[in-house]
Symmetry: C2
Subunit: 451 residues, 2 copies
């Protein structure tokens, strides 16, 4: 079995913790069975393993999420980077071609596609075995997962089945009466989980790739000519065109925890981080990622979220209306997870003479190394607040440790490797202090006995 | 006329904006007539001037407040530093001896003592003229200000007058019925404003100083032996022992704005700083001193205050119960106004190897200079993010400007003077990174043509 996880877009609905590079699925606000914080991505991966599913896992996502996925799932998954955001059809096609041409997956194997962030029981993933069996016995082109509806929702799509397991149609977002009738007649919610033989999608891919690039079903051809693929959803482009569709029931918890209101319902504790709750707080959740304390007194039905990007104080029921208020806020990420560690921004200033400066706290994990890169428009001064490591600057190696400071001028190639966990304070000064002003080069670190 | 402003203790009731070095009277949350933010101290000073009072003004306070007062009132006032906190009697005695022996004030002049933070009308200060006249005509040893009660408060002290203006007694915090009866019979609230001839207090001082130090009524003798003075309030030690007391009526607004609830009532706008208020917010005030935005959605009866020390989200009526929740929080100031500018702390970390680091953003105003000082237990790396100035290090002068970095080792004397406004990022690393690890030396900056 092969699993394709679709890791979707950047959302502002969980502002200030989610941003352009940190989608909601990477926020570590849930708890695993040992009570450790985990993100939605980590939860889904853990549940797949717990369900006893043995599968190759590929995450289809955009380049901005690669570092976060590597940081959270290490090398347990393959990552396929969508060259641009073009809806689910091209993304799934890209991932499937990757499986076939790069991973040499047998075309008769099952591929199951799902979103990366369903909040579900382990039983959800156990259902995959049944879906796989149905695909392998050839009972339908595509096997869907149908979720047992718990109320006549107007927000979801419904899968209509004639008799048990045979899909005859779909209904998107019906009104409440229609929804109730649909449920009465056995319709299920459509959870966006699709299973099919890899061979089936390859046939469709061939059709679509005829006019694309060199016309070949080749991974790099798809990558290079991704912009020519139809910007359509997999539902419309594939599922609704299939000759035969089957459905397998999942009768368990299934939630979208995309707003603060729904997310806080699933939090094990009422607070995360440095938080003091007065005894009179009622139905209040506080998530604090800052290094200063949050004190809540006498609050009711509130969510308080504090992060490097800002501070939200919202009535829980109003929290889903956040988007227009934060849409126009600066998009500069103030916190990023990277494969070598993380950084947070302390300060970001523009001065009257037009220069800008940014002050960051950078953590490089022991044994990890930053990119070897060059900035064109900014100088950088780095002070080692803790730990030790080595700096390569224009090809020269310098060991440095706690208390040392290094001045790197624009145009100088540089990279840092940590021997022990390193805490760095970096001040960048220049006209352009965005993350985009960085050109990377290859650098092969020598093996080091001290690591 | 001479005015002694008593600038009282550090309060945590306006946490996170007030702290050990930044008492509530220094928070710039009020608005002057042009709509500019001003602090309670600045407001009182402005009102004294507006009332047409011509007086020498002395602020009696602790050493921790000197920098903030100089920053907010410049050299418009004298400051008398209480060697330790010992209640109002020794503080007023010290200030009065300062007026007589250091400022050579005529002993027949009137001295009016008041707390630095009454929230009142200008008419309050106009009353001073009447008090001065009463003192000068010799109608009583001490003339008090009596505030027209607006309700039978159980929190205040009452001044009982037999006939108009002649004080016969006091009543502290009566129950509501007693308070109503007192008001009925003409009693007034005691606002803690005392007027007397300097000569009168000098006689009392002589009594008290007989056994203190060299027994002389000399400013430096009082300073040196301050710990021997009676730790008592001026009310008990002087006012209640006086042979004759008069009272002058102030019939106007008089408030204690020492809690978030009372303070926000006096704020001109519902928010200060980078704040986005959703349209559904009701009776919500937000004060944000951080550089990241605060977004409030659907909140009701809330005060939200965000500063370098932390973030408070409180029901307005519960905000006065804050003390026990914040009492044990770190006392390290995260923001300080200094006479040369200000600093804020971005980060304060302790590492597993026992070393600590602190990262600060320091602003030195053009033409101003920091202390010439030495640290014994910490090294410091300073990066100039903007502006230019000069550094003196062990007696050597170095000009430095935007992008430069300086490494100062423990034991090296150093000081910085700004030519233009300077923005510095300072990283201090060591075992002791408190503000106390600083020994100052004299340094005479050469006159500089560029200033």
């Amino acid at each position: 079995m092969n699993i394709v996880l679709l890791s979707g877009g950047s959302g502002k609905r969980l502002w200030p913790l989610s941003n352009e590079v940190r989608s909601k699925q990477f926020l570590k606000l849930l708890s695993d069975e040992q009570g450790n914080h985990e993100s939605m991505v980590q939860r889904v991966y853990r549940q797949i393993v717990q369900a006893g599913i043995e599968a190759k896992i590929v995450v289809a996502t955009s380049a901005t999420q690669v570092e976060a996925i590597r940081g959270q799932l290490q090398n347990d998954v393959d990552i396929v980077v969508e060259p641009e955001r073009r809806n689910t059809f091209p993304a799934i096609l890209l991932a499937a071609v990757y499986l076939e041409t790069q991973k040499k997956v047998d075309p008769d194997e099952t591929v199951i596609v799902l979103p990366v962030d369903p909040f579900v029981d382990v039983a959800y993933f156990e259902t995959f075995k049944e879906m796989d069996a149905k695909v392998q016995e050839g009972s339908a082109d595509i096997v869907l997962m149908g979720i047992k509806p718990s109320y006549p929702s107007e927000k979801y799509g419904y899968i209509i089945q004639k008799e048990q397991g045979i899909v005859t149609g779909f209904k998107e977002k019906p009104d409440a009466t229609t929804a109730a009738n649909l449920i009465e007649s056995g319709a299920l919610w459509n959870g966006g989980v699709f299973a099919f033989r890899l061979r089936y999608l390859m046939q469709i891919a061939d059709e679509h790739l005829k006019q694309v690039g060199n016309g070949k079903r080749d991974f790099w051809n798809v990558v290079k000519n991704y912009a020519q693929l139809k910007k359509n959803s997999f539902d419309y482009e594939v599922v609704e065109q299939a000759d035969s569709l089957a459905v397998v029931l999942y009768n368990g918890s299934w939630k979208d925890i995309g707003t603060w209101n729904t997310l806080t319902e699933e939090m094990e504790k009422e607070s995360i981080g440095d938080v003091i709750m007065g005894e009179d707080c009622i139905n209040t959740h506080v998530i604090n990622e800052l290094s200063i304390p949050v004190v809540a007194l006498g609050t009711k039905d509130l969510v308080i979220a504090a992060g490097q990007d800002g501070i939200l104080v919202s009535d829980k029921h109003k929290s889903s209306y956040i988007k227009p208020y934060v849409e126009n806020l600066s998009n500069r990420p103030m916190y990023e997870e990277r494969r070598w560690g993380e950084y947070k921004v302390y300060d970001y200033s523009q001065y009257s003479d037009g220069t800008r400066s940014i002050t960051k706290h950078i953590t490089i994990n022991a044994g990890c190394a930053q990119e070897y890169e060059v900035h064109r428009y900014k100088d950088e001064v780095i002070t080692v607040a803790n730990g030790s490591g080595e700096l390569v600057i224009d090809g020269c190696l310098i060991k440095f440790s706690c208390g040392d400071t290094i001045s790197i001028k624009r145009g100088q190639k540089h990279g840092i490797r940590a021997f022990q966990d390193m805490q760095l304070i970096s001040v960048q000064i220049g006209e352009d202090i965005t993350e985009e002003d960085a050109e990377t080069f290859n650098w092969h670190w020598q093996e080091d006995k001290s690591l």
